[in-house]
Structure formats: C-alpha cells, structure tokens
C-alpha cells in the first residue's frame, strides 16, 4: 500500500523567512503533485513533477523531486502572508497505463505571520 508522509504538519513562520516542506512516499511512482488549499476552498494544482531531479518554480515556491530517495520538497522563499494555506503532496500510485489514483499526504498547514 502506497503511503505518503508530509512533514511538518503545522508550520508557523514569519514573513521574509525561508522554509521547506518534505514529502516522503513509500513506493516507486511516475508522478508527484503539489496542491494548495485555502480555508474552506477546493484544491488548486501547483506543480506536477515527473522525473528524477525535476525542479519547478512559481513565484516564491519551488518544488523538487528525488525519485531514488522517494522524496519531494516544497521550498518557500521569503514567505509572505498570501502563502498561508494548506499544502498537499500527492503521489500517483500506478505505473504507466491510462488511469491513475492519487494518494495524498495529510497536508501541511502553513501560517505566515507578519
């Protein structure tokens, strides 16, 4: 059974600081995703990572993937209040084929304080 673990689950940080959220998964996978969820809202796709060494950046967020270590990181640079949200990583549990199922981590609740 595929397991996805995120840490930390809660992260309170000051504006302007840097921090990293970690996502470990238990079995080999083709794809890894990062989503953002604002309170009471749905999930918004941030990044899709497909291969070992993949790095993607959008604004103050940068995601990377190490398939050998089964680890993805979401790095936050110079945090601002608008980044406050819950961040989920999700892993595709199937290899190849046209179907897929996502297994989600429990999420990291990020609070950026002035």
């Amino acid at each position: 059974e595929l397991k996805v673990e995120q840490n930390p689950l809660f992260l309170s940080m000051q504006e302007g600081k840097n921090y990293t959220i970690y996502c470990n998964y238990s079995t080999t996978s083709d794809r890894l995703y990062w989503y953002r969820q604002d309170p009471g809202k749905s999930l918004e796709s941030l990044f899709v990572l497909l291969s070992n060494g993949a790095v993607k950046q959008e604004g103050r967020l940068m995601a990377s993937l190490d398939t050998k270590a089964r680890l993805s990181t979401l790095h936050i640079t110079a945090a601002v209040h608008d980044l406050s949200a819950t961040y989920f990583c999700a892993v595709d549990g199937r290899r190849g084929g046209s179907n897929y199922k996502l297994t989600f981590g429990k999420g990291t609740l990020l609070t950026v304080n002035p």
């Binding site: 995703y33 009471g40 999930l43 796709s45």
Partner: protein, 114 residues
C-alpha cells in the same frame, strides 16, 4: 477550456436521509472522474473513480455509492446518511493517458449530517 461544476456548495441533512451530489465536466471527452472526501479539514480520501460510463471502482467500503450515467456526469449517493458521512466532498477529473495526468478539482460540497 475545461471546467468542472459541483453542487450544491453546502448541504445539511438529517441522519438517515438520502444524499445526491452531482458533478459535471465541460470541455473534454471521456475524462477520468473521481470523488474524494476530506474530513476535519485535513487529508483527502479517494472514495470512487470512474474511467467510463457505468464503470465505477470503489476504494473504501461504506454506505455511499457512485454512478456515471453520462460521459461527463458523476453522481455520489447514499440511501441513508450517517453522522460519519459529514465532510467536504470533492469531485475531480483528469485526462486519461495524459503525460501529467493532473487532477482538477471542483469547488466541493460541504456536507453536515445532523
């Protein structure tokens, strides 16, 4: 462009009453469709997925069921709701065989069983 519609946005139902949540996708054909539940504002659990009309796979045994009467319509139902069915229900879709296989989520239905 593709869009996903999910309704209602909020629902309060008594224990033992029936449930019907509907989701439709526009702008794409033969999508993969998913129902997720998020309890207590945290992790997501995959309930059902469908790769075509009338094809439903259940991930978690429960008193919920799903149906796909049309290509872009996905319905979540229950004959008798339990208190434990309360949660945030999210419909999602993806393109089969797409390299990214990214899941796009609807706005969600917040269900409270009283």
């Amino acid at each position: 462009s593709q869009t996903i519609h999910q309704w209602p946005a909020t629902l309060v139902q008594p224990v033992g009453s029936p449930l019907s949540l509907e989701c439709t996708v526009e702008g794409t054909s033969n999508p993969n469709l998913y129902w997720y539940r998020q309890a207590a504002g945290r992790g997501l659990q995959l309930l059902f997925y469908s790769v075509g009309i009338g094809q439903i796979s259940s991930e978690v045994p429960q008193n919920l069921s799903a149906s796909r009467p049309q290509d872009r319509q996905f319905i979540l139902s229950s004959k008798k709701l339990l208190l434990s069915d309360s949660g945030f229900y999210l419909c999602a879709w993806s393109v089969p065989g797409h390299r990214y296989a990214e899941a796009f989520f609807g706005q969600g239905t917040r269900l409270t069983v009283v």
